[in-house]
């Protein structure tokens, strides 16, 4: 690929191709995961069922709900399985815009982006979910628990995906620093806003008690600091 600026139409054509390959990747991932959907969901429901009495199950209130649930589970798991391919496509789309001199191999990007996303997702699953499930079940102790699989899955998947995306922040800072939009000095200067924002995000994504808010805000701030280091090491030199 040459460094000469591509026209808008060429970029759109490229985007179309990248999206198509990503979609095919997700489709294959979906088919692979379909057989394992019940096993995957029993892993996902563990943070909730750990708090329930033995013999208590999640509920479904429409006939097709479990089937559609497994479709969604297979789809979400498919995204994770196809993640390296999707990230490669993203890289191929972004890379031509980076300065010729600073261009680097796609391998570190894919490895690190996948690693951060998986770490974030795992953090959401292992730390945030048990916390939030315990809190909300405790709040509802006066009523019969009859949480539907559909509602629980949409709750769980949004927590896991949100945590995964939040953990991609160093990657985002890497690109912004590479292009020259942010510099380490700028990031350090805006540190106080970043800390405030981290606590706001922590307040929105977790139940309204301070412990869980801090549990999310602290990793976000650490990732931001890591981002400063990355910007310093890999940023565009002035």
């Amino acid at each position: 690929m040459s460094a000469e600026p591509a026209t808008l139409l060429l970029r759109l054509d490229d985007l179309r191709k990248r999206l198509l390959v990503s979609l095919i990747g997700v489709g294959v991932g979906f088919l692979v995961c379909w057989n394992f959907a019940p096993a995957i969901f029993s892993l996902l429901e563990r943070p909730l069922t750990a708090h329930l009495a033995a013999g208590e199950h999640l509920a479904y209130t429409t006939l097709t709900e479990p089937f559609l649930l497994y479709m969604k589970v297979a789809f979400l798991a498919g995204i994770f399985v196809a993640a390296p391919l999707i990230l490669l496509q993203l890289w191929l789309f972004i890379a031509p815009n980076l300065p010729q001199k600073g261009r680097m191999s796609s391998v570190p990007f894919i490895v690190f982006a996948s690693l951060f996303f998986l770490t974030g997702g795992y953090f959401g699953y292992a730390v945030l979910l048990p916390y939030t499930c315990g809190f909300f079940l405790q709040t509802g102790r006066h009523f019969s628990q009859m949480i539907t699989v559909d509602e629980y899955f949409s709750f769980t998947s949004s927590v896991i995906l949100a945590a995964g995306l939040v953990f991609e922040m160093p990657i985002l800072i890497f690109f912004l620093a590479r292009i020259g939009i942010v510099t380490p000095a700028f990031l350090i200067q805006k540190m106080k806003y970043a800390i405030l924002l981290a606590f706001i995000i922590g307040a929105i994504l977790t139940p309204p008690d301070i412990a869980s808010q801090v549990a999310l805000a602290v990793p976000i701030i650490l990732l931001y600091v890591l981002g400063i280091g990355i910007a310093w090491a890999f940023g565009k030199k002035v």
Binding site: T139, G140, F143, S144, M146, I147, T148, E151, F155, P207
Partner: protein, 258 residues
């Protein structure tokens, strides 16, 4: 109440001659509205915070008209993890409206008061007390009589199925009913104002009584979600009674034709 009286005195004592309306520009009115809204919102926020600690106990009271029809041990259910938490938020907000209602009504009065003559402003305290009382009486009426009747009707209708009513659904049902009856009970206050302004007279109200009766039945058919006549009449009859009370009020306090 002292606060209200002071505020009214404050409005009355601004240097303006007797029997003359204070002159305010349109922008001043907007500014005034902004201030009144702000105070109301703050009062509501404080009411919310006060009620937040009691939300579960308040909901126990609200659900009683339903749970009395259920076999012992049968509870309401929730199907979303966050549902009980959001329910308690709503309950605290709902109870906060009731707690803050005297202040909100005071603000409403203070906004209207500059448009009235000085002697008319003497009604501030009675207006706030009576409006609050009517609203509370209406809410209590809805809770005590309408809610058990409708709950009984619907539980009876669903006897062939398994009861699994969601807390959120029940709360929105109960709160609509209670707020609606509270508002309906404000009819005499509305008539009082209309009569004061000379828009309605006792004779006019008497003449339109037949329409009021029809309207009362239509409104109560809409508010009470049951299609049975008993619940409908249980709301419509008090509404007609309130309309008659309104005629009495219009006769006693209305603008005299000279």
């Amino acid at each position: 109440m002292t606060e209200a009286a002071e505020a009214t005195a404050g409005v009355g004592s601004s240097e303006e001659p007797e029997h003359e309306l204070p002159k305010m520009t349109f922008l001043e009115h907007l500014e005034e509205l902004r201030k009144r809204l702000l105070v109301s919102v703050i009062a509501l926020g404080v009411g919310f915070l006060v009620c937040w600690n009691y939300a579960d106990r308040i909901f126990t009271i609200i659900e009683k008209p339903l749970t009395q029809f259920l076999p012992p041990g049968d509870k309401l259910v929730y199907t979303r993890l966050t549902e009980p938490f959001l329910l308690y938020m709503k309950v605290a907000f709902f109870a906060g409206i009731f707690v803050a209602s005297p202040i909100i009504l005071t603000q409403l009065w203070l906004f209207i008061a500059p448009g009235l003559y000085k002697r008319e402003r003497r009604y501030a305290a009675p207006f706030i007390i009576i409006a609050s009382l009517f609203f509370l009486a209406g809410g209590y009426f809805g809770y005590r009589f309408l809610l058990p009747a409708t709950c009984g009707f619907f539980i009876e209708t669903g006897r062939q199925f398994r009861q699994m009513i969601k807390v959120e659904e029940f709360f929105s049902f109960a709160s609509t009913l209670i707020l609606a009856t509270g508002l309906v009970f404000e009819t005499p206050i509305l008539i009082f104002f209309l009569a004061r302004l000379g828009i309605v007279t006792p004779a006019f109200l008497m003449q339109k009584l037949k329409y009021a009766v029809v309207l009362a039945f239509i409104i109560s058919a809409i508010i009470t979600p049951t299609p049975d006549m008993v619940t409908q009449s249980a709301l419509a009859l008090p509404m007609i009674g309130l309309y008659l009370l309104g005629i009495g009020i219009a006769w006693a306090f209305g603008k005299k034709v000279t």
